[in-house]
Symmetry: C2
Subunit: 213 residues, 2 copies
C-alpha cells in the first residue's frame, strides 16, 4: 500500500514537472510593445483587471520617430464600452465593444513548443525560465495562429506572436510587469467623456490589437 | 575631508547605477533563433569562444515545418576559415572568412533605449532585468542599424534586431545560455573535412548572419 502511495506521489510529482497551460495574475500593470512587418514599433502602458473585466492602454506612441499620440484606450467589458481618450486635446470617443472579455491565459488546448531560459541559468538573477506555447484560435472573423511565451513561475506574459487568416505576423512584447493594479484611477474615464457621444462602428485594427490580450 | 570622500563615493555609486555598454562572457553555449520578415524561424545551437576567436553553430533548422538541415557551421577566425559541415551526408566545405572576429558586446557608442524587466519583478525568479541599446555599425558594405537587449547582470544576450542598408529587419533571439563551453569538441572539424577543398567565394547571407554576433 505504501509503495502504491509512493508510486502515485511520484507520478503526480513527475506530471507537475511538465509545463501546463496557465492563467496570468488577475491584476497586472506594465508596458507592452507591438510590432508588425514593415510597421513602426508601437508602445503603451497597460493595466489589466480580470475580476472587473477591464483593460487600460495609456500613452500610446511609436518608437522610431518618438511620436506619442497622447492617446489612451479604456476597455470596460462589463459595460461593453470602449473609450478612445485624447487627454491633451480633451476629446473622448465611446464605442460599443463587440468582442467579449478574454482572460490573459495560455489556452487549454495549446501545444508546448518548449521550455527555455532567457538570459542565463548559470548565475541566479541572470535569467528567467519561460515556456513557449502555440496553437490556433477561433475568432469572430476567421482563425488566428499564435505562439505565446510566459514565465514558468507566475505565468507572466513575455511575448505573443499572432497571425490572423494567414496575413502578416504581429508581435506583442510585455515588459515591466508587476502584480497588482499600479493605479486604480486608470480605469475611470475622465470627466470630459460624455455618454451621449456613443459611436456604433468599431475599428477593425483596434479590435485585432485588443484580441491579442 | 571625510565628507569629500563620502561625496566622491556617492557620486561613483550613482554613476554605477546607470547601465553601461558591456561585454558578454568570453565563453558561452546556448541556442538561438533567427527570424526575418516573411521568412521561417531558423534555429541553431551555438558555442562561443572569445579567447580562441571561434563560433560553432549546430543543428541548423527551421521551426515552421520542422525541417532540420543537419548543417553545422564552424567559424575559426584565427585561421580565417569557415567550415560548412553536413554530418549526415558526411560532406564538408571550407571557405575563407573575410570579416574579422567581433567579440559579443554592446558597442561603446551605443545609445541606451531603456531598462526593462522581462516577466515580473514582483516575485524573485519571475523575471529578469535587461537593458536595450541601439546604434549604427559600419560594415564592410554599407551601414547597419541595430537594437540589442542584454541582461543587466551578466550581460547575457537576449535579442538583437538588425537592419542592413535600410533593408528588412532580422531578429536573433538567444536562449538557454550558460556560461562556459558545453562541449570543447564543438570547435574541432570532423575527420572528413579535408583542407584541399577550400573554396574562395563567400556566401552573402551567411556573412550577414554571422555579423549579428
Amino acid at each position: 500500500m505504501r509503495a502504491l502511495v509512493l508510486l502515485v506521489c511520484l507520478s503526480v510529482g513527475c506530471l507537475a514537472q511538465k509545463p501546463q497551460p496557465c492563467s496570468s495574475p488577475a491584476l497586472m500593470s506594465g508596458s507592452l510593445s507591438v510590432s508588425a512587418q514593415n510597421d513602426r514599433l508601437a508602445l503603451a502602458k497597460y493595466t489589466y483587471d480580470e475580476v472587473g473585466q477591464r483593460i487600460s492602454l495609456r500613452e500610446l506612441g511609436t518608437f522610431g520617430n518618438k511620436t506619442f499620440f497622447h492617446l489612451d484606450i479604456l476597455l470596460l467589458y462589463q459595460e461593453g464600452i470602449m473609450y478612445r481618450i485624447n487627454r491633451k486635446a480633451g476629446t473622448c470617443v465611446q464605442k460599443h465593444l463587440s468582442e467579449g472579455f478574454h482572460p490573459l491565459a495560455v489556452p487549454k488546448d495549446a501545444t508546448l513548443v518548449g521550455q527555455y531560459v532567457l538570459g542565463s541559468s548559470s548565475v541566479p538573477g541572470e535569467g528567467v525560465l519561460v515556456n513557449t506555447w502555440a496553437g490556433k484560435l477561433q475568432m469572430r472573423k476567421g482563425t488566428a495562429e499564435y505562439m505565446t511565451t510566459v514565465t514558468e513561475f507566475g505565468c507572466l506574459p513575455v511575448s505573443t506572436m499572432f497571425c490572423k487568416n494567414n496575413e502578416r505576423w504581429v508581435v506583442v512584447s510585455f515588459f515591466d510587469n508587476v502584480a497588482g493594479m499600479a493605479d486604480p484611477q486608470d480605469f475611470i474615464p475622465p470627466p470630459f467623456c460624455n455618454d451621449d457621444r456613443l459611436e456604433e462602428e468599431e475599428e477593425e485594427n483596434l479590435t485585432a490589437f485588443i484580441s491579442l490580450f
